[in-house]
Symmetry: C2
Subunit: 329 residues, 2 copies
């Protein structure tokens, strides 16, 4: 058997079985976006993301400054989804010999820009030769116990909320992948190239205890939504007509997908927050959305595991068809 | 200018300049093998190493079990060189689609074996598609302030010590790189394939305050020795005839190098500890070597920066010629 047959999530399950251990101090381990361990009086959060040239990005789409910004931002987004405080990061880079130093200075300028914005500092790393550019960021943060949110707290009856709009980044990527980008809307491409992690929102939701479970949307709304019910052992229903779609998305989606919801449901890299909360929190969530000037939409509800996971379209329930991106399939 | 002209250490210096920052809590940052930060009451140690197929290893030389062991061991060695306690790690892997799952189960078994031996647990990671295998380990550990050693504490007049023997791993690699390995000594190849981090020794030196500065030898004795004087702003003298060479090394070095000391001086991946200590610690260091059953040799001395760095051969001083491996040159 090879990885094509096992798939990415099959592999992660295997790794979890192979490596099973519960050392003292471990709160959350393999299989989640962020590891959580107690170290002395500190609740340490740690997350890592690898970006590989021609797999995650192509040099013809993304300039080195935005690549640096994105490499750090996607990790900060994982910490945001717990309501944690990102603090320090290490970066390993594999680089071709003929790479211009100007590429690297722009890349590190991108890292520094995002680092400054979110109070995150580079503390170490490793460099290596590589044919393709490889970037691995390992981000460390802090959380307060009782003021961090996991994937696993959702309960049947909770509302399901999402921040921002959906599908812009995935549609932007498709536009980038097509030649002849002249005239294409910068806004959508920019959502793919320069995601903004929802740190303030994530921290506020966790600190004010408005939510029960939270995750960031990196693989796609549907697949990331399934992670909440899986971890929480519940089901979920998403109302398709409540998905927040941007004006630009609505205007440009047509040539890329006949079904206008498809990309918003299945495309990845939104880096928006998806969270659950009991209905009595609706007022508090609205207030928070206004005070942070972030759009927050109630797009569904959590139900029992037996009721399963479905999409509601035109009043009818459908099983979710696309379940996002699998690297190995 | 590209990376060939700048070189690996030139790049690291640039990165240090581009990213300069001194956040509160930072004790040691960019440019060292291990980052050290204060987080709450914890002194957190963090180190990362990237391994790329056909750059750091070839599948024809190393089996996946040993590759897993080595990926973790080289990071533990960095923590050993501070006298720290390794605790948790994250691993990012890029994998080709057609990789057999049996390769991965052996690889993770290797990780687990070393993890068990040193009390280190996997807590997270990332997986991605990649043409070549890419492995990035980020290892987190703990230190006690006052009981960790840096590169920067060496003083003129200190002795220079090294654990174990030198050059075995580099000679083993050359043997592996040659076809027709049948009959070649397993011991040397094994030193390359399965390095053992000197955790107990590193911790004992730091805890008993026997040393003033310490580093592990990963790039090669000479280049890693220069890191101590650079960080400590001192010079050093190494007596070539005191370099600890194994019986196997002496027996097999001849066809690979006319100068029998060359590979021991310049070859990398020994993962032995190099440390400095004032002469009054000699007795304590001998006692420690006996109690841990580790060979420790006094191979040189620290002198003033003005006196510089030299090798003594046949009573004469020479400047160090080879200064180890630069990825980009």
């Amino acid at each position: 058997m090879d990885l094509r047959q096992l798939g990415e999530f099959g592999l992660i399950n295997r790794i979890r079985n192979w490596m099973a251990s519960s050392p003292s101090g471990l709160i959350q381990g393999i299989g989640d976006d962020v590891a959580v361990v107690e170290m002395g009086s500190t609740t340490l959060l740690a997350t890592t993301d690898i970006l590989i040239e021609d797999i995650h990005f192509e040099r013809s789409w993304i300039d080195p400054y935005r690549l640096g910004k994105k490499a750090l931002a996607v990790n900060i987004s994982d910490i945001a989804a717990m309501g944690g405080v990102p603090r320090y990061y290490l970066i390993s880079i594999g680089l071709p010999r003929n790479l211009p130093v100007s590429f690297l200075s722009a890349f590190y300028r991108g890292l520094k820009t995002v680092g400054k914005e979110f109070g995150v500092n580079l503390i170490g790393g490793d460099t290596s030769l590589s044919k393709k550019i490889v970037i691995n960021v390992c981000l460390l943060g802090e959380g307060k116990r009782g003021a961090i949110l996991f994937r696993s707290g959702a309960r049947a009856g909770d509302d399901l909320f999402v921040s921002g709009t959906l599908g812009d980044a995935a549609l932007g990527l498709r536009i980038l992948q097509k030649k002849g980008r002249a005239g294409a809307p910068k806004g959508l491409m920019e959502k793919h190239l320069s995601p903004t992690p929802r740190i303030a929102l994530g921290q506020a939701i966790a600190r004010r205890q408005l939510g029960t479970a939270m995750i960031d949307i990196s693989d796609g709304l549907l697949i990331d939504t399934t992670h909440l019910p899986e971890a929480s052992k519940v089901g979920a229903r998403i109302w398709e007509d409540r998905l927040p779609l941007s004006r630009l998305y609505r205007k440009w989606v047509n040539p890329y997908s006949k079904d206008p919801y498809q990309i918003a449901l299945c495309g990845g890299e939104d880096y928006e927050l998806l969270f659950t909360a009991p209905p009595e929190m609706r007022e508090g969530i609205s207030t928070l959305a206004r005070s942070l000037r972030v759009q927050i939409n109630r797009i569904g509800e959590i139900r029992t595991a037996r009721e399963g996971f479905c999409i509601v379209r035109d009043g009818k329930e459908y099983p979710p068809v696309c379940l996002g991106f699998d690297h190995f399939r």
